[in-house]
């Protein structure tokens, strides 16, 4: 069993195998993710009941919660890739970070925007310096740093190395910022879906929310694969395996 895992791990790192597989997978994943997002948004925006306290304003939860959660999950996955790159020098990890960074940045921005739109009616201000909002902003800055980092190095290898180091610095720094900012009492109400305790929103609202979360994760998976394919083709276009592969499909 361990041997199977090991050579799957090595296959994961090889560009030709990934290029072949992603060619087939992308259309399927793309179709399902768009479908899911459309269904969940319609269901969430028009059919789910209005909230007792916040009226219809809470419906933005169907964009805010998935965006914020996906932006953090992307960053933590990138830091795993960064670790893999620094230890095993796997080029695929560098491709992964470079492709996922813009997507993460986009969703962090969506999270901030939707949070502000949601915050305005509930807290009465567009922006409030509160622990979670500040650390999301810091996360956004780190994404920008990673995107900016790609172009400052001549050689691809040193760019990936620098980017991996920054990603790990970010992973260490995020909790520190959250803790140091936490010293002000936080206005942000506790997470509505707490994995451990029972979630504090009713089930009719929950199902479209879970659907939209699934939809957005699939969408990230779809765009991630797309970006990685583009990145691989730009890095490997003068290799014969790439010419052979791209000529026949």
């Amino acid at each position: 069993m361990f041997q199977a895992l090991k050579n799957f791990y090595h296959k994961l790192g090889s560009f030709p195998w990934f290029y072949k597989i992603s060619g087939k997978v992308i259309p399927i994943v793309g179709f399902f993710s768009i479908l899911l997002i459309v269904i969940s948004s319609i269901w969430g925006l028009f059919f789910s009941p209005t909230d007792a306290v916040q009226g219809d304003v809470y419906r933005i939860i169907y964009f805010h919660v998935p965006a914020v959660s996906v932006s953090q999950v992307i960053y933590y996955s990138m830091s795993v890739a960064a670790g893999v790159f620094l230890i095993w020098r796997m080029k695929m990890a560098g491709v992964y970070i470079k492709s996922l960074a813009p997507i993460g940045a986009a969703f962090t921005f969506i999270g901030l925007l939707s949070g502000a739109i949601w915050g305005q009616p509930t807290w009465g201000t567009w922006w409030v310096w509160d622990a979670r909002l500040t650390s999301t902003l810091v996360l956004f800055l780190f994404y920008l740093a990673i995107i900016g980092m790609q172009s400052t190095f001549a050689s691809r290898k040193s760019a990936d190395t620098a980017v991996s180091i920054i990603t790990l610095v970010g992973v260490v720094n995020l909790p520190i910022v959250k803790k140091s900012v936490d010293w002000w009492n936080t206005l942000h109400q506790p997470a509505s879906i707490s994995i451990s305790g029972e979630s504090s929103i009713s089930s009719e609202m929950l199902i479209p929310l879970l659907l939209s979360i699934l939809g957005i994760y699939l969408f990230v998976f779809f765009t991630g694969l797309l970006f990685m394919r583009a990145e691989i083709s730009s890095r490997e276009q003068n290799k014969e395996w790439f010419k052979k592969l791209s000529s026949n499909n």
Binding site: T134, I147, G148, M149, A162, V177, V181
Partner: protein, 219 residues
């Protein structure tokens, strides 16, 4: 060791010859100090409790502007290559460079911040904690500046500021809180100790990271 003193003299000469390195922190401080009352309000008690934060932000912005010229000028005229070829211990040389950059970008502002007692109606007794927290906090910010400068060598990409701000956030919070604590009677020594702990802890790590980042440009 002698070559370190030689490099220290060389850096001092270079910085002092560049007239901008004298004037820019002073002018920068005066501009920001005069903008705050105009921008926010000239009501004394508002300015009074904003003063610590405003001064810290001024120092942070001053380092943000000047972190480029720690390495980028040496990169353009090839001295970094010579340093790499000279087999000397690069981290000590980088430390000297950061120290000189701190002298020319942060120290003037710390000295000038004494004037905030008149310009920003900052209470007299708050001055001691202000100076102490600035003296301990700004070197850490200069360290982050050096790392940002080493990474974005030559090309002024978004990376520098985007990296420096999140890293120096905790230092900013601790620094301003230390001053506020001291103003309303709370013992602020724990903040100062934490600030020193951060500086001491980060000094070697950021130093070697900057040297590594420099070498990445010449792998």
């Amino acid at each position: 060791m002698i070559y370190l003193i030689k490099i220290l003299k060389k850096e001092f000469l270079i910085y002092s010859r560049k007239s901008s390195s004298f004037i820019s922190p002073v002018v920068f401080f005066l501009i920001s100090i005069s903008l705050y009352p105009i921008g926010i309000s000239n009501d004394p008690d508002i300015l009074k409790n904003l003063a610590p934060g405003l001064i810290w932000i001024t120092v942070l912005l001053s380092t943000l502007i000047s972190f480029q010229n720690i390495f980028s000028e040496d990169y353009e005229d090839g001295s970094i290559e010579l340093l790499l070829a000279s087999r000397q211990n690069l981290s000590l040389i980088v430390l000297v460079k950061i120290f000189v950059n701190w002298i020319f970008s942060c120290l003037p502002i710390i000295i000038l911040s004494v004037s905030s007692v008149f310009l920003l109606y900052f209470p007299q007794e708050g001055l001691k904690p202000l100076i102490i927290s600035l003296l301990i906090g700004t070197p850490t910010i200069c360290l982050f500046g050096a790392l940002a400068g080493a990474l974005s060598l030559g090309k002024n990409s978004i990376t520098g500021p985007a990296l420096m701000l999140p890293l120096s956030l905790p230092v900013l919070i601790l620094g301003t809180q230390a001053i506020n604590y001291s103003l309303n009677g709370i013992n602020f020594s724990s903040n100062i100790l934490l600030l020193t702990a951060i500086l001491v802890f980060l000094l070697p790590i950021i130093l070697f990271a900057s040297v590594g980042a420099l070498k990445l440009h010449f792998n």
